[in-house]
Symmetry: C2
Subunit: 204 residues, 2 copies
């Protein structure tokens, strides 16, 4: 496709493709808060003038929407797979969705960090919160189904298990550094082991 | 003590004692970010003029410092107790510090929420991060000691266990509501059970 044939808002200026603009915007939102970031700040970050930034992105909320979709789309697909009863027992599907959600969080760490800070200001954030609630509800149902099967202990309420389990998973965005001492497989093994098998040696 | 004898900066104006000013400031910092909150915003929140607010607090960073001390002081005391080898095995002390840290997080939830968002801008935040690192290092050592004792499984690195364990504990500030469906004892039982004994029924 020739450069002229592609709309300017989607194409980006030389040196900045759309993926780069989004990545830099997410980093900036995480650093100084979405509400505390202006289009002027983003332009400065990219070394562009305040008017040139609008050749790259129509609005700040458009970037937020793209970032939150990046964070949510794969997680949603994972959860859809996890609730499909034809793919295994509830216990197996829960363990798999925990393991896989670690992979997705690491792959989209900055976008997920932004998602976890969303408090519901405006339509874009409200939509993201609604999608998080849908995910949380499906995961709590999956925990309940695994308890029902007899595979999970019944003395902790499924809602609470679900919150704490994914609280542990989500906490990795605060400190995990890709390419650091801990690789993704080690990390997802550690999380599933702690959560399902426990830390105590006599239970291993 | 007569009103005149007490310094104005410590006393507070009628209707606002120092504890109330601090609590409202912490709420505001959590809602709109510390950097995004001015002394004028805090004055407006309290229904005071911009000049009257300085009768209550000398500066915004003074409030931040008090808030971070509130979050850190009891946790530090807990960890000091936990590293005292005379009080039990490393396993017992680790389990106890997990249980007790839930109680402290619930009691100081807003201050801890603020602490967990601190990124190290300025001296007050740097000091808080240094205190967090001290706590994290002692907890990782305690995990290592419990592995050494043979009480904790050895196939997950102590640093990683410590991060994930307290990642799960810290995650409660995102959703826990005192007086809601889950009481503090149920919550700390759930966290210690999941972490040490695991969710799987056949291990219970």
């Amino acid at each position: 496709m020739s450069e002229a044939a592609e709309p300017a808002a989607r194409r980006g200026r030389p040196g900045y493709d759309q993926a780069t603009v989004l990545r830099r915007a997410i980093e900036l939102f995480n650093r100084q808060g979405y509400d505390g970031t202006s289009m002027g700040d983003l332009a400065a970050e990219l070394g562009l003038s305040k008017s040139a930034i609008y050749h790259h992105v129509p609005s700040k909320s458009h970037l937020l929407e793209q970032a939150l979709h990046e964070a949510l789309d794969e997680l949603t697909t994972l959860v859809e797979t996890a609730v499909d009863e034809s793919t295994g027992t509830a216990y197996e599907r829960l363990r798999e969705v925990v393991r896989e959600s670690v992979r997705v969080l690491v792959a989209h760490q900055d976008a997920v960090t932004l998602l976890l800070r969303v408090r519901g200001n405006g339509e874009v954030e409200q939509e993201a919160l609604a999608r998080r609630r849908w995910i949380d509800a499906r995961l709590a149902e999956l925990v309940a189904a695994a308890v029902e099967e007899g595979a999970l202990r019944a003395d902790v309420a499924p809602d609470l298990v679900s919150r704490l389990l994914f609280g542990m998973v989500n906490s990795l965005v605060e400190w995990y550094r890709p390419g650091g001492a801990v690789d993704t497989d080690v990390l997802s093994h550690a999380i599933t082991t702690i959560a399902f098998d426990g830390l105590a040696a006599h239970r291993a």
